[in-house]
C-alpha cells in the first residue's frame, strides 16, 4: 500500500506540473489532454501491475517471509530519502588539508657531485648528495579561502634546518570561461616536468636538461593566467610574468617592472580508451644582470677555473610531450608512460672574464631527455631515461677570444634505470642506477636508494 501512496503522489506532481506550465497556452491544451489521457491510462496500467505485484508479494509471504522483508526494505529506502548521510566533497571540512612528504636518499657515486657537466659551468648544477641524507621534507597546506579563492602553500624543510617557501600561491576558481588565475609563488607552467613536485618524479633526480637549465625546477614570484579553449580537444594557452626569482633569471630586486616572462601552450587528448597524450611548447624570456659563475674552465687552463659574469638577454624555447598507455585504461594494474622534452637557450650579451676583460658573448645551448616508465604489475614500476646536452659553440668577442672556451666539442650524456615499489598509494621505495657521462673523461656510476612517504591529505595528482 506504500507503493500506491508513492505512485499517486508521483502522478499528482506529474499531472499538475505540465498543466501548471502550459495552462496559459491554449494551443497546447489539446495535446495536453491527450497526454493526460495517456498518463491516466499509464496510471491504470500501473495500478494493475501493482495489484499483481502485491498478489505476488502475498504469495511470497506465504512461501518465504524474507522476500517480503526485502521488498519492503526497498520501499523504505525510497521513502527514507530524508536521511541521507552528510558527506563532504570538498578536499577539507573546514581546516586546511595538510600533507607532509617525508623523503630520503642514499647516494653512492665515484665523482664529486659538485663538478658541473662539461660546457655547463655557467649553468646551475643542483648536484647530488653522497651517503645517507634526509632530503627535503615537504609540508603542504591547502584550502579554499572563500568561494573565489583557493590557497596553496608548500614549505620545504631543509635537513640542516630552516624552511624555504617552495610554493605559496592563490588560485582564482570562479573566473569561469576556461580562465585560471594564479598569483604568488609557484612553479612555472613551462615544459612538462616543471610543475611536478619532487615526490611525484619518476626518478630520484631531474633530467640533466632541467638540472642545468632550470636548476631542477623554475619557480616564480608573479602572476600566471591560463585559458582553456572550449573544445573537445584539450588546448590550453598560458602566460606568466614575475620577478625572475630563479635561475636563469637574476632576481630583479628593488626595481619596478618584471624580471621574466613565460608563454606556453599545451594540447592533449585521448586516443581510444587506452591511450592519452599531451604535447606542449614554451618560451621563457629574461634579461640577466651580472649573472656570476665560479670555477669556469678557460683556454689558459687556469687551475680551479675563473669567475665570469654575464649580462644580457636569455631566451629559452621548449618542446615537451608525454604519452600514456594502459590496457583497458586501468592504470591501477599496468601502464606505460613515455615522455620527452627539449630545451634550447640562446644568450646574447656581455661577458666579463675573470673580473677583468669584458666583451660580447653569445651562445645557444640545448638539451633533451627521453624516458619511459612501465608499471608491469600493480605496485611495481621500472623506468629508463636517457639524457643529452649540447653546450653549443659560443661566439666570443675579440677581447676574450683567447680566454673563453667557445667550443667544448663534447656532448654530456647520462643513462639511468630505476625500479620502484609502492606498497600503497602513500609510500614508495626506489632503486636507481645511472651511468653519468656528463663530465668529459669522468664517467660516474651512480647508485641511489630512495624512499618517499606521504602523510595526511590525499592530494590529487596532475597528469
Amino acid at each position: 500500500m506504500f507503493k500506491k501512496t508513492i505512485l499517486s503522489v508521483a502522478l499528482t506532481t506529474l499531472l499538475s506540473q505540465p498543466f501548471y506550465t502550459f495552462a496559459a497556452e491554449s494551443a497546447d491544451l489539446q495535446a495536453l489532454r491527450a497526454e493526460m489521457a495517456q498518463l491516466k491510462l499509464h496510471y491504470e496500467q500501473l495500478e494493475k501491475r501493482l495489484q499483481q505485484a502485491e498478489v505476488h508479494a502475498q504469495q511470497a509471504q506465504a512461501s518465504s517471509q524474507q522476500a517480503v522483508v526485502a521488498s519492503q526494505q526497498a520501499i523504505e529506502v525510497t521513502r527514507d530519502q530524508a536521511a541521507p548521510s552528510p558527506t563532504t566533497s570538498s578536499e577539507s571540512a573546514f581546516n586546511p588539508a595538510m600533507s607532509l612528504i617525508l623523503a630520503g636518499t642514499y647516494g653512492q657515486m665515484k665523482q664529486d657531485p659538485a663538478l658541473p657537466a662539461t660546457g655547463f659551468a655557467m649553468n646551475s648544477n643542483p648536484g647530488h648528495q653522497q651517503g645517507f641524507n634526509l632530503g627535503e621534507s615537504e609540508l603542504g597546506i591547502t584550502a579554499n579561502i572563500d568561494p573565489q579563492f583557493r590557497g596553496v602553500a608548500t614549505m620545504a624543510l631543509a635537513p640542516a634546518g630552516g624552511i624555504t617557501v617552495e610554493n605559496a600561491f592563490i588560485q582564482n576558481t570562479s573566473l569561469g570561461n576556461g580562465l585560471n588565475l594564479k598569483f604568488g609563488r609557484f612553479f612555472s607552467g613551462l615544459g612538462y616536468l616543471n610543475e611536478q613536485h619532487a615526490h611525484a618524479w619518476d626518478f630520484v633526480d631531474q633530467p640533466l636538461v632541467y638540472a642545468t637549465m632550470w636548476n631542477n625546477q623554475i619557480g616564480e614570484d608573479g602572476v600566471q593566467l591560463k585559458w582553456l579553449a572550449p573544445t573537445d580537444m584539450f588546448i590550453e594557452l598560458g602566460g606568466e610574468i614575475g620577478r625572475g626569482r630563479s635561475f636563469p633569471a637574476t632576481d630583479r630586486q628593488n626595481r619596478n617592472g618584471t624580471g621574466a616572462g613565460t608563454i606556453f601552450a599545451h594540447i592533449g587528448d585521448d586516443i581510444g580508451f587506452e591511450h592519452s597524450w599531451r604535447a606542449g611548447a614554451s618560451l621563457y624570456d629574461t634579461k640577466r644582470v651580472n649573472a656570476a659563475s665560479a670555477g669556469v674552465p678557460d683556454l689558459l687552463g687556469t687551475v680551479g677555473g675563473v669567475n665570469t659574469q654575464f649580462s644580457g638577454d636569455s631566451r629559452t624555447m621548449g618542446l615537451d610531450f608525454v604519452w600514456k598507455y594502459s590496457p583497458n585504461g586501468n592504470t591501477a594494474n599496468r601502464y606505460l608512460k613515455v615522455q620527452g622534452e627539449y630545451f634550447s637557450r640562446r644568450e646574447t650579451g656581455m661577458l666579463t672574464y675573470n673580473a677583468a676583460v669584458t666583451d660580447t658573448f653569445s651562445n645557444t645551448q640545448s638539451g633533451w631527455y627521453l624516458q619511459s616508465v612501465y608499471q608491469f604489475m600493480p605496485h611495481w614500476r621500472a623506468g629508463m631515461r636517457y639524457d643529452q646536452l649540447n653546450p653549443g659553440t659560443a661566439t666570443v668577442g675579440a677581447l676574450n677570444a683567447s680566454n673563453v672556451i667557445s667550443n667544448y666539442a663534447f656532448k654530456p650524456t647520462r643513462t639511468s634505470v630505476m625500479l620502484d615499489y609502492s606498497p600503497s598509494e602513500f609510500s614508495r621505495l626506489r632503486l636507481q642506477l645511472a651511468k653519468d657521462q656528463s663530465r668529459q673523461g669522468l664517467t660516474d656510476n651512480q647508485l641511489f636508494v630512495q624512499y618517499i612517504m606521504s602523510l595526511g591529505a590525499h592530494g590529487a595528482h596532475q597528469y
Binding site: A10, H56, T78, P86, E91, S174, P230, T231, E236, D270
Partner: protein, 298 residues
C-alpha cells in the same frame, strides 16, 4: 596566424552549436542513469570505463577539456574520485561545476553510507572518511539518487522540467518493477557466505543479504600477500563460503588463486554499466549481477 584564429573560431562555434545540457559523468552507472532521466536533452560524456579502477584515474587532458564545457558533473562523491577529480575541476576553468555549486552532483549525498569509519587511520589502508563509496551495487540506491538528480536537472534547465519529471516517473515505475523481480530472483542468495576481493560490496551484501566472511585485501587498497591468502584459506575451513566475488576491473589472479584452492566459484561482477557484455544498461547491470551470483551458488 590567421589560419589559427580561423580554426579556433571554427572550433568554438562548432562546440557551442548544441543547446542541450552537457553532462560529465564520472562513472558509467551515473552516465546511464542521467541518460534515462535527461533523455534527449543531454549530451553525456563518461569519464571512466567499467574496466577502470575509479579510484585510480589520471587527470587526463581530455577529461579537463570535457569538464570545461560541462553544465553538470555527476559523480559518486564520498572521496571515490579524490585522486583525480579535484585537479580536473580546478584546471577546467569552469566555475559552474566546482564542488558545492549546482553544477556538481554527488550521488553519495542521497543515500545512507555504509562502513563510515569511526577511526580514521591510514594504518587501516585506503579508507574513505565519508564511508564506502561503492553505492551503485545496491539497486535500491538508484531511487533516491534518481530523485535528487532529476531535481538537479530541473534546477539547471527549468524550461524542460515537465520532460524531466516525466522521465523520472517512467524510471521510478520501471525500477520499482525491476526491484521486485530482482529481489525475487535473488532470494536464494539470502544468508549465503561469500569472500570479496576488494571491500567494494557492502551495499550489495546489505541488499541481497549475503554474508561477507573475509576480503582478499588485508586492508582496502593493499595487494594480498601469499601469507595473507593462506590465512584466508584457514578461515575458510571454519567458515566455508560459496564463492569469491570481484569487480570486472580487478585483476583476476587473487580470486582465481583462492577459488582453485578452496574449490569455490570465482565470480566477476560487472560492477557498473559496461562491465560485462550483458550489462548494457542499468537494468542489464543488475540482471547480470544476480544471474552471475546465482551461477556462483551451483
Amino acid at each position: 596566424m590567421k589560419k589559427i584564429v580561423a580554426v579556433l573560431v571554427l572550433l568554438f562555434t562548432h562546440t557551442t552549436a548544441h543547446a542541450e545540457i552537457n553532462i560529465f559523468a564520472c562513472e558509467p552507472e551515473w552516465a546511464a542513469l542521467t541518460q534515462l532521466l535527461a533523455g534527449k536533452q543531454a549530451t553525456i560524456y563518461t569519464a571512466t570505463g567499467a574496466l577502470q579502477d575509479p579510484h585510480r584515474v589520471e587527470a587526463r587532458p581530455s577529461l579537463i577539456a570535457k569538464a570545461r564545457r560541462a553544465n553538470l558533473v555527476v559523480c559518486t562523491g564520498a572521496e571515490l574520485e579524490v585522486a583525480w577529480l579535484p585537479v580536473i575541476l580546478r584546471e577546467s576553468g569552469n566555475s559552474a561545476v566546482q564542488f558545492g555549486s549546482a553544477g556538481y552532483f554527488s550521488a553519495a549525498q542521497s543515500v545512507k553510507m555504509l562502513d563510515v569509519p569511526t577511526h580514521l587511520d591510514r594504518a587501516n589502508g585506503d579508507v574513505h572518511a565519508g564511508g564506502n563509496p561503492h553505492i551503485q551495487t545496491d539497486a535500491r540506491n538508484f531511487l533516491p539518487i534518481a530523485d535528487a538528480l532529476s531535481k538537479r536537472l530541473v534546477q539547471l534547465d527549468p524550461a524542460n522540467s515537465a520532460y524531466y519529471q516525466q522521465q523520472l516517473a517512467t524510471f521510478n515505475q520501471q525500477w520499482h518493477a525491476a526491484l521486485v523481480k530482482w529481489e525475487k530472483q535473488a532470494a536464494p542468495l539470502q544468508g549465503v557466505s561469500i569472500l570479496v576481493q576488494h571491500d567494494g560490496f557492502p551495499y550489495l551484501n546489505q541488499w541481497l543479504g549475503m554474508k561477507q566472511i573475509a576480503s582478499l585485501e588485508p586492508k582496502p587498497g593493499m595487494e594480498p600477500s601469499a601469507s595473507y591468502l593462506k590465512s584466508v584459506l584457514t578461515t575458510l575451513q571454519q567458515h566455508p563460503v560459496k564463492m569469491v566475488i570481484r569487480a570486472a576491473y580487478q585483476d583476476a589472479r587473487p580470486s582465481e588463486w583462492i577459488a582453485e584452492r578452496a574449490h569455490i566459484h570465482a565470480v566477476s561482477l560487472p560492477y557498473t554499466v559496461g562491465g560485462s557484455d550483458q550489462a548494457v544498461d542499468l537494468f542489464g547491470l543488475f540482471d547480470d549481477t544476480i544471474a552471475r551470483l546465482l551461477a556462483g551458488l551451483k
